[in-house]
Amino acid sequence: MIAASARTRSHTRLAAIAARLSPARLSVPTFLAAWVFFVILPLLVIVVFSFFQVRSYRLVYELSFDTWQSLIESGRWMIALRTLRVAVTMTVIELLLAFPFALWLAKGCRSKSAKAVIITLLTIPFFLDAASRIIIWRAILGTNGMINTALMASGLVDQPVSWLLYSEFAVHFGMLGTSFPTMVFPIFIIISLIDDSYLAASDDLGASPVQTLIYVTLPMALPGILAGIIFTFVPLMAAYIEPQLLGGGFVDLLGNSVDSALQQLRYPMAAALSTVVVALLGLCLTAFTLLTRNRLDLSTIFSTLRQ
């Protein structure tokens, strides 16, 4: 009797262990382990690096707050604020441009071939090197560039417009094309998924086109809008090519500051600036999630998109 029950107990314990080791149960821990190794660990190393020092081009593994102190005293923390401002401005601009465009592409554009061509054109920023794409603007926006030459020739101005290049305007302008597709695609996909019958029902029940947009299209497109904002905002926080090539040293953002610190072999400074980028991103995304959490139940919105 006793032996039999003991055997059953050990048998059930083995079964419990086997169940715990099943692929379904292992998938989450595996993902977490991989994520910690590939994402969290390098981040931690970066944070730790910011507390080391460089003496005569050699890294000295001695803890100190010198890097952080100089970061604050030299006023470089202003770079973080400027980066945040530029990234937020550009995200807002892109959203305002991309939403109507995505709406038209998904629901207004009747020609299938035109749609295919536009989608292909939108991927161009992804397969052309960013630096070679952006440096072209120098030839267009510069004091001897196309625009100024045209303006001078037409007699509209008698001196070249200088703020066109090597200015915040130029940096914003350069970011416009790069960040547009990342905002358009998620919104385009989600609006394409909205069944036409919802829009027809709204129309049929007496809603004007604007009311349909506000009460039906926008709420149903919200997951795509949120994805677009995240995919656009995050790379903008780390942008370095546009400030480097079009800022002309007048527009320092976190991205190009990290880049120049690395080129000067000031690894702790690069690490400290990177830490600031990551910390700011973490803060922004947390705030964003908290703001939208109550208005949006992602799981139910996605589950009801398919009818």
């Binding site: 069944d195 019958s197 027809a200 029940l205 007496g206 004007s208 149903m220 139910t300």
Partner: protein, 389 residues
């Protein structure tokens, strides 16, 4: 229930000025106060990608009528509905009048009719109550008044307790009724129903047929109902319009379409089992005599125009009107036949028989019948339909 019925009925006639000011302000010439059709579609033609979906169709509906547009998929019935609601702009149209006012250039959201969509199209991001109130919200009705009217409509479909539920928590039948309530709340002059119960299972479909008919009678609203099911059309409608390939094939009350199909297509759509090619020998009064193979059959003429003798016609008879006997009575159509297999269907028995003019299916309600091999199949002249080919 009586109170809700009066408020809806009042709107259904299009007399109140609140949501359709154009109707009250500007009655057109020819729209008499009494007896004028509430819906007139005159000479509508529509083309999709070079395919003619509607070919010069004219449809009218009287106020309070339950009009069913019956047809297979691709017959143009849904296109016709979308033209009425304004969701589709016609390629060419003579006139489209709602309550006597031409609305052919009025956008859908300003037309005084609403639709119950085939898959309901209930907004997934809103609750039941928000869905039902939507038509009032976009008209600027205050939230408190909205709630009252939404609850009233939900009570009509016995769902007022589900006001706060979300759409995905409802069953198919409940969704269908919420869609109905949502379409009724703005008190349209015409309610358009696009195969509204097609997606429900058999039992629920039968229940909903009864319920829809009751709601129609209680509200006195004009219903334009789209379906491909002859059974639904026969049970609910005041009048049926049968469509095929963008044209109207026949229209009339259910009994007329059922008993007097004008041609082979209508008869086969209405489920007439036996349709035989025949040659017309003579036509006298209502009765036509024709030859089918070696047999001479007499039946009622139910085609549109009366052809001359010698014309090709079709003779139709339903399986349940055929009788089996050893000897036929006087003055009937009869065919000697050899009995074949029997299929037990519960309520009745389907017996096949081999006659000189082809196979017959005979529906027998009393199963103790003659089981001999040779028999006579007979049916009354009144039960025999002769129609255009």
């Amino acid at each position: 229930m009586a109170f809700s019925a009066t408020t809806y009925a009042e709107r259904a006639t299009g007399r109140s000025a609140e949501s359709q000011p154009e109707v009250a302000a500007e009655p057109l010439a020819g729209a008499d106060a009494a007896g004028s059709p509430i819906l007139e579609v005159i000479d509508a033609t529509h083309v999709y990608d070079g395919i003619v979906a509607l070919d010069n169709v004219t449809v009218t509906a009287a106020a309070g009528e339950f009009l069913t547009i019956l047809g297979e998929s691709g017959s143009g019935k849904t296109t016709l509905l979308r033209l009425i609601s304004g969701l589709e702009k016609p390629y060419r149209i003579g006139a489209l009048r709602l309550g006597g006012v031409d609305v052919s250039s009025v956008p859908a959201f300003q037309r005084n009719c609403t639709t119950v969509f085939q898959h309901y199209a209930l907004f997934p991001h809103m609750t039941v109550g928000e869905n039902v109130e939507y038509g009032l919200k976009v008209r600027g009705v205050k939230p408190s008044a909205r709630r009252g009217r939404a609850l009233e409509a939900l009570r009509l479909v016995r769902l007022d307790e589900k006001y706060d539920r979300r759409i995905h928590q409802l069953s198919g039948g409940e969704r269908q009724r919420v869609a109905l309530a949502r379409a009724l709340v703005p008190r349209p002059a015409i309610l358009l129903l696009d195969e509204p119960i097609g997606a429900l299972d058999e039992k629920l479909r039968v229940d909903m047929q009864v319920e829809l008919k009751e709601i129609h009678m209680r509200l006195g609203m004009t219903f334009v109902y789209i379906t491909h099911s002859q059974e639904e059309a026969l049970t609910m409608s005041d009048r049926i319009i049968l469509m095929s390939r963008g044209r109207i094939v026949q229209e009339g009350p259910p009994a007329e379409i059922f008993d007097h199909p004008a041609n082979r297509f209508v008869a086969s759509f209405m489920g007439v089992e036996h349709l035989l090619d025949a040659e017309l020998l003579a036509i006298e009064g209502a009765m036509a005599t024709c030859r089918v193979g070696p047999a001479t059959l007499v039946g009622k003429w139910s085609g549109t125009e009366r052809p001359a003798a010698g014309a090709e016609v079709v003779v139709g008879v339903r399986a349940e009107r055929l009788h089996l006997a050893d000897e036929a009575p006087e003055g009937v159509n009869m065919l000697p036949c050899r009995l074949g297999s029997a299929i037990y269907k519960g309520k009745y028995l389907d017996r096949t028989a081999d006659a000189a003019i082809g196979d017959l299916k005979i529906r027998l309600w009393d199963s103790h019948h003659t089981s001999e091999n040779e028999a006579i199949a007979w049916w009354k002249h009144q039960d025999c339909m002769v129609m255009s080919a």
